[in-house]
Amino acid sequence: MSEFRVAGFRRRFPALRSCHRNEAPYAPAIYLDNAATTHRPDAVIEATRDFYTYTNANVHRGLYRLADEASERFEAARTTIAQFFGMPSDSELIFTSGTTDSLNIVANGFAQTVLDHRSEIWISPFEHHANLVTWQQVARKSRATLRKLPTDPWGLVDPTALEKELSSSISPLKIVCLKHVCNVLGTIQDIQNLCRVISKNGAVSVIDGAQAPAHVELDLSSLGADFYATGAHKMYGPMGIGALIARRDRLEQISPFRYGGNMISSVTFESTEFAEVPARFEAGTPNAAGAVAWAAAIDFLREYRRADLHAHEHRLAEEATTGLESLLGVKVLGCGLKAPIVSFVVAGVHPHDIAGWLDQKGVAVRAGAHCCHPMMAALGQVGTTRASFAPYNTLSEVSALVQGVSEALRKFRL
């Protein structure tokens, strides 16, 4: 276990060591868009290179040693990742291309086959488009009813209020869709109690876990979610790989809807018998290098005490919140226990201009609707500016953020 020191942690990320390639004055950017994607440490980049250099073969196909090695590394990665998420069995983790893909698999492979006009899909306007749009489409095709989850003004769902709603519904099949950690506000749902209520009322829970793994200790075996969708690239892993995690009996309720190699046990000209879970959902050549690199990200994280990483990033978020709120007209959104995501609005200044100005000062933040248009409507905002932190960020970077916003206020109040 390595002792966490920001400088040492930071040095392990090549993007933070290198210069911005074409842009004078060649200073490394202050990267505060970690909720969009984090940087990757050397270990992850090296794992990708190593896989393609030393074990490059297609997995679960070849009858030669190199192919066996590739398959072994791929399956070892599945074990590492499943264990990280607290799953007792590797067969309860399907590799996907990311959180969005995972949600689409539940929607199209499970929900689409079981929902009908008597069914209900419960979701709130605070969900990411990856969740909301997906379920809108399923509702339309299956003729299920899209129902609005009761939330507080920041999108948090109270388990007692949810219990009241679900228990009064006479629908024979209810699916409840929630994001664990809000990508805009950083708010964290009481997901364990919500899943308990959902399960108690005979409903199915589908959790968007895109933001959670970097900031919340997860034990999915006790969380109680029926389906948990997540991805690698917001937790220092590579882009283009994620997972759908669920108990085996739940996964077996999903009908395969992508067909191809690797997902079959036997094929005749007339019909096909599908392979066991998880292979039946992994048609075609998987992102094996991505899986190996994701496992490397987990090994990297395991070198540190998660509590140390979380304590540092929370301090950054608190400093940012305090600094920003000290500026006249700046309001930080959200409340309660939060992941280190700080979304704010500035009276009279468009979020794009805050982000554009900060970019000119070398500070990278996200601005806009964050793939959450109905959420913006619910908040009464055209968009927000969002700074999101990782343990490699520093207090001086927070100061640069606050200083930049302070300058933007003087520049843009039109």
Partner: protein, 143 residues
Amino acid sequence: MTSFDLYQDLILDYARSTRGRGQVEHPTGRGQGRVASCGDQALVTVRVEGGIVTEAKVDCNGCAVSLASAAMLIETVEGKSVDQARHAVGSAIAVFRGEREVASEAVIEPLAGIHRLPSRLKCASLSWHAMLAALDDSESPGN
């Protein structure tokens, strides 16, 4: 990617300008634009009389770049024939995209480098696309 001063004073002066903001009364054409990534919208209304754009306005909730660009749009098209306006708008969009050089003393000159910031290209061109739709609408059979 070379640097481009997005917030030079001339751009901010245009953004602060209220010229051409709002909606034309009794327009002959309307056009709408929306940037999907941020939700910003622009509604362009025009009045065309005798083949001339006599009045044009933009109702926009966008950032400084889109507000400045909208003010430049109005300065560009008012008083021109519909064909001239359409040509000028098409040329400006091509300049924003970096597909052609900006003409000397063109009103859009301060935004000519916007193609170096691809993420802001849509902010600059939002109202111009809406203007093309408004001009088409003005010439549609119902008008």
